[in-house]
Symmetry: C2
Subunit: 378 residues, 2 copies
């Protein structure tokens, strides 16, 4: 029960929500938690010290990108990802599976390996489950992910089944290939939108007793309602005492809905990517800062927000984007990560004070009543 890696501190009475704590050699992570994405070993435009100030506990880095550039041997020679990128806290690396199927030109996938062409120089690269683990061991993250076979949705049932079964076999091979004892390997539940395949995959992986489980293959084209349905039927088949990570999700509302359904860990490019594109998240809905209504607006994006962007008037932030100044994307990225981390902190506190259901309904109502850029009129 009291696994020193993950401790389940509290379960919500009204929902599947949980308070937990991950303990790694690079520090603890209070869950539910959100990981900003540092694709190439850098959360775009943000210094580690700035990232820590947002409340970020743990970051994600992409194995696929780092394997291609600078190469995992370079990172290992520098002492691993923590030393290379000067991020002192916990790190999770994905397996490369998702990027192989989304970014690269995939040439072939069979039981042995995925063979693909690099999106950087077109060279042919073979990724086996064993190599995915070896690369992640060289990178040295605290949590590493099993290689899985991700397919776009919707997909024919037979294709979903094949990919799910391959992901199961690859998860076993990843575990067998593990040599470093200090990294925690998470397995990934696949099965598309097929409820029975999701249940089967969750149960087979649970029987293999991994230190943590991810729900993968979502946020790849399905509706939010379909995603919530898959979470509803999947999480009850995962071990209660192990952390659960929903990969690549999502919008603030998706995080809230997934916590309700028992998810502990998230990553997504949305706060960073949307920030670079001039969209700021707030409790009152999105603020699209290029909008001309902000030309002379002296207010911060969100009053009460402690982030560096909210020390500036909206008029200045708008000016930065209109003038294509780098500081605009930097500041809105900092705001959005801070927003996500504040949301996660509020969720954790609501669970702690046995008030998560009230928080959940209140938060949803506030978002739903907020029209786009409603704060301009407030």
């Amino acid at each position: 029960m009291n696994d020193p890696f993950f401790r389940l501190l509290q379960q919500d009475a009204a929902s599947g929500a949980r308070r937990g704590r991950l303990t790694t050699s690079h520090g603890t992570v209070e869950t539910p938690a959100f990981m900003p994405v540092g694709t190439q070993g850098s959360v775009k435009g943000i210094l580690p010290s700035q990232l820590q100030a947002t409340g970020t506990q743990m970051i994600l880095a992409n194995t696929y990108h780092l394997m291609l550039r600078p190469g995992e041997r370079v990172v290992a020679d520098l002492g691993g990802l923590h030393e290379f990128a000067c991020w002192p806290g916990p790190i999770l690396t994905d397996s490369g599976g998702f990027q192989i199927f989304s970014l690269s030109k995939l040439t072939r996938v069979d039981d042995q390996a995925a063979i693909f062409r690099s999106h950087i120089d077109g060279s042919t690269i073979t990724l086996t489950p064993e190599r995915a683990v070896a690369v992640q061991e060289a990178l040295g993250a605290d949590i590493i992910m099993a290689l899985d076979h991700v397919i776009a949705l919707p997909a024919p049932r037979q294709a979903v089944l094949d990919a799910m079964q391959r992901s199961l076999r690859w998860a076993a091979r990843c575990r067998a290939a593990q040599q470093r004892p200090d990294q925690r390997l998470f397995a990934i539940v696949q099965g598309g939108l097929e409820e029975d395949l999701r249940v089967q995959c969750a149960e087979e992986l649970s029987a293999m007793d991994f230190p943590g489980y991810a729900v993968g293959g979502l946020s790849v084209g399905e509706t939010p309602a379909e995603m919530y349905r898959i979470l509803d039927i999947t999480t009850p088949h995962l071990p209660l005492e192990k952390p659960r990570y929903l990969m690549g999700v999502g919008r603030p509302i998706d995080l809230l809905e997934a916590v309700w359904r028992g998810i502990d860990l998230f990553d997504c490019v949305m706060p960073t990517r949307n920030g670079r594109n001039a969209m700021a998240f707030t409790h009152h809905g999105p603020v699209r800062i290029r909008n001309c209504r902000y030309e002379r607006d002296a207010r911060p994006i969100e009053s009460g927000c402690p982030c560096p962007a909210c020390r500036f008037p909206r008029a200045y932030l708008r000016h930065l984007f209109m003038s294509r100044e780098m500081l605009g994307p930097i500041l809105l990225t900092l705001h959005n990560i801070t927003y996500y981390q504040r949301l996660m902190q509020e969720i954790r506190q609501a669970i702690e004070r046995h008030a998560f259901a009230a928080y959940y309904y209140e938060r949803k109502a506030a978002w739903e009543s907020a029209s786009d850029d409603v704060t301009a009129a407030s």
Copy 2:
């Protein structure tokens, strides 16, 4: 003598170098001082708090750019440049003269005005000395600059003479147009590479008793030796008790040479622009961080440097540039501004301890003995 705006604290015995202090309503500036350039109201990629941590006391913003976008009325409506850009320290705005002659399509210049087309939307804009002052009063900097007529060098003597005489007349009109009592208007010495015209211009402007003087029209195509010669003959004709500002200069060696010749204030895009282009300044010469010799280099750019970039291994900084990550330009910009500010601090301290000449020769010898990227072998 003891002008409350500028206090000449100390004069070097062996050179023209001076220690001084500017006092503005937004704080003091210890001179000699270097101002990073925030062209559009932002030092590219750098937060005000980060800029303060580099040792930056004062920044420069470009009237030309801010007049075109967002427009000086927007800035004024937000409370002026300090409030708009959240820079609490002193600010200097240039007059727009240099940008009109370098960036825009100049359609006509006569005694009345410069008429040019905006580089943003091609619209026709008329800038008179009176309007240059009005715009700078709306922006609200602590130091504002007279409109001058800048010409590219080399130029025929008659053209240099005409531009110099026009600059004199415009300086007088700028002063007559001034309405705000809280801004200090600096006049600009022109005269190209013609020694007698520089002397004449310096003397005529000195007789008009401005609170400060700039040397303009340099770093526009002439050699360093020509620039130093012009400084040698110009600064003796400027009042000893007034601050002297060399506009748009320059390389670290140029700052050292100009301090030797009695200059107190500098601005230049070089540390920021070169930083964005992967070139770092050090006491041992430049480091071009994209060089493949840094692929696995665990050392910082410059050991002992307190800047945020020097917490990272060179290998990581190289990776950021090779991967086109924004953090690379941000970090090298921070390093270079820190380098310039450390250089200015060393210069100030050397003057204070009556050792500027020794510092000057030592620093020049170190730079001259440093081949490009010499630190890689050290």
